[in-house]
Symmetry: D2
Subunit: 284 residues, 4 copies
């Protein structure tokens, strides 16, 4: 079930469950996978920034990916971002062999000019292999790399394997509109756009042409309902449901770009994770 | 009515009204001043980033400040941030002579180390004069300068004229708690803390010890009510009122760090500004 | 004698002489002007970063510029960089009226994408007036703004008043070659390219097509000779003279991007400045 | 032969030889190792930024390290910098088991405040194990992380296994003097200081108290002679030898922070590397 440019819906970003002593908690991982499936999600993204990926060694990453892929009959996207292409290629190969649907690649925060960003993704796409669908992660607040709509278009044009944008610019509504405009005027092929920012602007983003959400909000069932109501044209109901969640949704957002602590805490309180432990060193 | 470390309440950040042809619109400026006063605010901050200050020449800045100071019998804080101390000193002198209550100083985004930040404020405080109360503006998202609580404490210790923190870190609740803890353990004298971020976290910030809001949200009357209810210990009512505003408040926030366009538009629709024009070049 | 795209030679970047108490030292300013003229220079750049411009108020800047313009019958370029266009426009107007040959504009270090850089110069050029020749300052090490050759070409294409590039990228030899290639293939009109970096790579830069030097090295007479020998095709002599200066030239470079302290000290020891004082606050 | 705080001399930073098709060239690696030994060096640093480490997978890195360690009876320092501690720990363990003398750790360029930098090294030192000597790499120009002398002192105080500073600040002479002053006044224990910047300031750095050079300059025999002459108090001879190399040394420096292309080219021309190929993607 490879990722493709028509993918829609809600794909939560999963944290990685740890025991208090730092070992990966595989039972909680299973429970979380089941929880996501029960919420009606359309895929799961693992081993992203929220997943504490940089604290996992290669073998641990493979073990986690394999376990989620086997358990969940939905597309699994694996974060493979790394400063060097060697590590990115090795992890990509190993998880694709085990059934991953695609990978997500964030830009290293040393990139500055448009050409540097485009060249980076050209190299990355070549390194992982032209047959591996990948998600372009655009999150200037966290990575300090600013991609204009034109840069996104260039990356999409150069790399047929770029099938999805994880959109997390801020402010970003205009960017969605511009990219969808590129598609309408024929200057860019269609890609899937899923949005982040904790879902804080999801209602507006759906109105602008987003295909769904790709975020770590701890109540994915609400995201699923908002996306379905929006897709069904029931905008008022979507907005009402969304507004009811806003006070809490905003609290998660207060925790900053990653908000990992509060998300793990909520998942623990909901009985899904056995512990809200982060592996040392904790994210700043 | 000089600014001091006991200042509390809501001090809106005012945009600068322009005519569509780029001239300053003094009638709208008056109307906006009256609107703020009617909302029950406790002061007004003018000529900040939201006020398009870098697009104003020295004489225009003086004219605007003088007009607002004369019209409003509340403390007026003037943004005087500039890369060089010469321009900062000249503007400070001219607005203090005309009755400003104090000035606000943002850090230039070239500062990196703790010592560089502390030295910058030492020089700035000396340049404007030890008798001029100033607001320390902490907004890492916009300025890329990260101040730890310890750096704030050092700046407060070195500069008796630093009387207020405009707190706009994100996530930032822990910072308020840490600074109030410094005060309780006697390692830092008390300063006023007013918060920004469009008011998005105001309810939680008041719970942590903030003294009020210093932000450009286009409905300051709501901020006034939330701050008063919080100060009166009526936390549930404060939270309820706040939650009712959240959907819109969040929309403003979507506009990014400055959100100037939507704020001018709303003030125009409310009949306060004659135009929502920004002077060229528009803020990015 | 307005600056134009055919300007060649050595245009030193002048520091601003101060008395130890911080006042501008006008006698030293005159002596320095005469020293530059005696060295055979082709113009002088004043009020740049090296000139401690941010520490001067508007009136001081005008006074200094007027004094140098009156005394020196060579083109005087005035640094007018400022975060806001209002201050830039005011200073430009005042120094052009007094006979300046053109102005130099550095990018604010908040610019990130190609489009942001191009838009900034479009706005700046419009603000100062289409009739004012300006120098595009490209110094990524100091300003953290990275301009690709294509971005330079776009700025040159959009702004007929952009007549010179102050080239200070590092490594930068390829950039000179690329820009001269654009001229040869007809995709960019000719502009003057003068180089910085303390002259450390001047010999190679002349070989690549630079028109001269625009830097603060404290022995401009050497730069003048190297540029003349190079222009006369006497490359070996140019290289030999250059190599003899290298040990000292490199020492100046050790002082970092600005190297102001050592340059003022040398000019004082050479009897040109009465004092090597920097106005407070000293540059970092 | 573990690295310790008394290590002195010249420790070249080695590039990684590749065949034109991208495979590691083990014969050139051997030849380069022998070349360094014949030049009289005191150790070799491998798998740093100059060594294209991010393009190597874990097994390749181990293979290269093992081969150099077996061949050279001098201390081998291995670059283990990685954004996550998991990869850093795994590589450290594997190369220390195979006889490495210590590791070098660069700061990730997301670090901003003093406390963030200190915390990062605390976590890194704990992750690799308290018994592994490590080199603190201070290179603000490349990593955008600015460490004050006080931050270096804090890292040295917290981590007994920090035994060496690779000093590559710019300007940096004052930093060496300050750190040696800390040692004299008893506020910091002694550590080895080796310097980088392509050796461009080596003569001055030795005068300030540096213990030698740790850089990729393609003529390490010159660095060895300068360090020995300086250590023997023969300063004039050291300076003369150094000055004779300056024109070329400066050319290498022109190539920018890494200068890898010119260094590989020179080593190829000297008959040491079979090819000057860089593995794709080439360093920016």
């Amino acid at each position: 079930m490879p990722l493709n440019s028509r993918t829609k819906g809600v794909i939560p970003i999963a944290p990685t469950p740890f025991h208090p002593d730092g070992r990966v908690d595989e039972y909680s991982l299973d429970r979380m996978t089941d929880f996501f499936l029960a919420a009606g999600i359309d895929g799961i993204t693992i081993l992203g920034q929220l997943g504490e990926a940089p604290k996992l060694d290669h073998q641990e990453a493979i073990t986690i990916a394999t376990r989620v892929i086997k358990r969940a009959a939905v597309p699994i996207i694996v974060g493979v971002s790394a400063p060097g292409v060697a590590a990115m290629r090795a992890l990509t190969r190993d998880v694709m062999e085990r059934g991953a649907a695609g990978v997500m690649i964030a830009p290293p925060n040393t990139l500055r000019t448009d050409d540097q960003i485009v060249a980076y993704y050209r190299n990355a796409a070549e390194a992982i292999g032209a047959d591996v669908p990948f998600v372009l992660q655009d999150y200037p607040l966290l990575f300090s790399v600013v991609m204009t709509p034109d840069v996104v278009r260039r990356i999409v044009a150069e790399n047929p394997s770029c099938v999805m944008l994880k959109h997390e610019d801020w402010p970003g509504l205009e960017k969605i509109t511009t990219l969808r405009g590129f598609e309408r005027n024929g200057s860019m092929r269609h890609i899937s756009i899923l949005t982040g920012n904790g879902g804080l602007f999801l209602d507006f983003e759906m109105d602008r042409g987003a295909d769904g959400a790709n975020t770590g909000y701890a109540f994915p069932e609400m995201l699923v309902d908002v996306v379905r109501l929006s897709a069904a044209g029931r905008r008022d109901e979507a907005h009402d449901l969304f507004d009811a969640h806003l006070p809490y949704l905003r609290y998660e957002q207060q925790q900053g770009p990653l908000g990992l602590a509060v998300r793990k805490y909520v998942l623990m309180r909901r009985g899904i994770l056995a512990s809200d432990a982060q592996r040392k060193p904790a994210l700043r």
